[in-house]
Symmetry: C2
Subunit: 350 residues, 2 copies
């Protein structure tokens, strides 16, 4: 009854992942469960038809993915970073809800010629970030694909739906605030895609920006702090400040004004922009993947929110306000000029 490949009875066209590879991946992911704050709620992990856990309260669930050549290039993004970026991007959506970290499920497509080592490195990067932030990886699927592709479903938790902060909830007059600094991931991307630029900036500057691109850190603690301290609406800056501010304002049927000069610049952004002959504010306005949080905060809660964010090791900066300012988001530039966010080429990207 034995038949060769390509035989019409061949029921699946999947590549056979070697058993050792699957076993090695399982081992790495099991470590994320053992260290998870929710370990006690998990009764079945990787290796069954489905993982079983007892969520309690409410869950926030999101799915996000990366494809080689679309969201990164394997020429400059090592497999470990692909793993970190894939998990980081998904978990950042949980941070933007103010949810506590929970579980993740990973679908991985890899070209057969890639070999097993990069797959393991990718899983290492993903598992390391998972352990660091308290995410238990409970399931996965490994298959052949023409380009390295990772999709991650991340689940976060809250006691009640009212504890979580959605995109909607801003009202006219709310402050528009951002955590941390922006532009670093975009500056890092420029350095990675144009190695000649790297010679024109100090080594430490380049390293800081590149790390921001390759090693995203979702703001889980800041997100929870903001939710508890009274943020009214929240989104993560994944597509770029202009685009994400538009999403946030539109969810509440509002516009917003952002003073670009008030946005804190990420490490190395000014230097990289100068070396490239570009405007640093362009990187700030249009550069995505910083995974900071953008939120609407009632004026009465501003001080409380700023303090709560500082306690998580970063800062909160007021960079604009929500209002009925022509129904869209305007980016104010130095010298009084302003641009509609949606008129900006980059800001159309998503």
């Amino acid at each position: 009854m034995s038949t060769g490949p390509g035989d019409p009875a061949e029921p699946r066209m999947r590549r056979s992942p070697e058993f050792d590879l699957i076993a090695a991946i399982r081992e790495r992911m099991a470590a994320t469960v053992a260290g998870s704050p929710r370990a006690a709620s998990i009764s079945v992990g990787i290796g069954d038809d489905a993982a079983v856990s007892e969520p309690g309260g409410v869950t926030a669930t999101t799915i996000d993915g990366l494809v080689d050549g679309v969201h990164f290039r394997s020429s400059w993004c090592p497999p470990r970073s692909v793993g970190r970026k894939a998990l980081g991007a998904a978990v950042s959506d949980l941070a933007a809800m103010g949810a506590a970290p929970g579980e993740a499920y990973v679908w991985l497509g890899a070209p057969p010629e890639l070999g097993t080592e990069p797959i393991l490195e990718l899983c290492d990067g993903l598992a390391n970030l998972a352990e660091k932030i308290g995410i238990a990886v409970l399931g996965g699927d490994l298959t052949t694909a023409p380009a390295l592709s990772v999709s991650v479903t991340a689940v976060g938790h809250g006691a009640a739906a009212s504890d979580l902060v959605g995109r909607r909830g801003a009202i006219d007059g709310h402050a528009l605030c951002v955590t941390g600094e922006l532009g670093g991931a975009a500056a890092g991307l420029m350095l990675l895609e144009h190695p000649d630029l790297r010679e024109r900036v100090p080594e430490r500057t380049a390293a800081a920006a590149i790390s921001r691109q390759l090693d995203p850190r979702p703001r889980l603690e800041a997100g929870r702090a903001l939710a508890a301290a009274g943020a009214a609406a929240m989104i993560d800056v994944s597509d770029g400040l202009g685009a994400d501010a538009e999403h946030l304002a539109a969810a509440s049927g509002l516009g917003a004004e952002i003073d670009l000069e008030r946005v804190p610049l990420g490490a190395g952004v000014a230097e990289v922009a100068e070396a490239a002959g570009r405007d640093a504010l362009d990187l700030v306005a249009s550069g995505g993947e910083d995974y900071e949080l953008l939120c609407a905060i009632p004026r009465s809660a501003l001080d409380r929110c700023a303090l709560a964010v500082e306690r998580t090791g970063t800062r909160l900066t007021e960079i604009g306000r929500f209002g009925d300012v022509g129904g869209s988001v305007r980016l104010r530039l130095p010298g009084g000029r302003s641009l509609p966010a949606s008129g900006h080429d980059h800001l159309r990207a998503r």
Copy 2:
């Protein structure tokens, strides 16, 4: 500040899906929420950073995916079927736990040249199956990829972990049973990949087998019925009877014997096999994607389980037994021969 594509500041390399496409997809998926048995537990659906629901009890979560050229070929698998197959494969894992249908999250990668119509058709197929089986699609991500790729994370529910049936739990002497019929999806695949074969079987026969391949129906009701009636361990037949029986037996540290002649043949399997000059039992043993349930049942619960499965509109057949029969699964053929499942070429596929 405007820059062209390929500029180093281009922060994301994603394709911009047209707003209309996203809106059309959301509309289709919203219909799955409205009709879901768990609609009342869902407070935030598609359109925010994450979906929010109140699970209660325990959740069973699984992730599965399909890639064009690996799990199907777009030359014979229309987009609607890609959507149905992607959801069906994931939900089948929930059926194999005995879980009640819950939510799904869909990651979709599509080549830019595909255009929007096939994407909408894929979403239609997925949403139609979701509505039929009571799955609410609560989140998604659409991006560019070199081949049409779909990953689906499916969440099912149970009152307590003890209500769900994992792969482990078989003991020596348990009956090995299967729901429904096997081989149909493999026969359908043969007809789809070799159109000349189609002329050699009756039209209705071909249609039945092809439908089995293109329109999988996860056995959610049978799975819940089996869990309630005392099945001790369960898996779905996605890789093939031999391979999945090995997974099931190995999870309990056992072997098993399967009498291939007792396995009910799917509609058209005998005719297609004959037309192709093949052994129908080969399709039964190695053909995957039938998405029937394979389970271990204590002898005392056999009648109860059979009756419970019949009430869901299909049948349960005892096809073998678990035991310490050399530590692996053996497939008994007519005439007293037997094959180790793991020695079968197809059964190595996964």
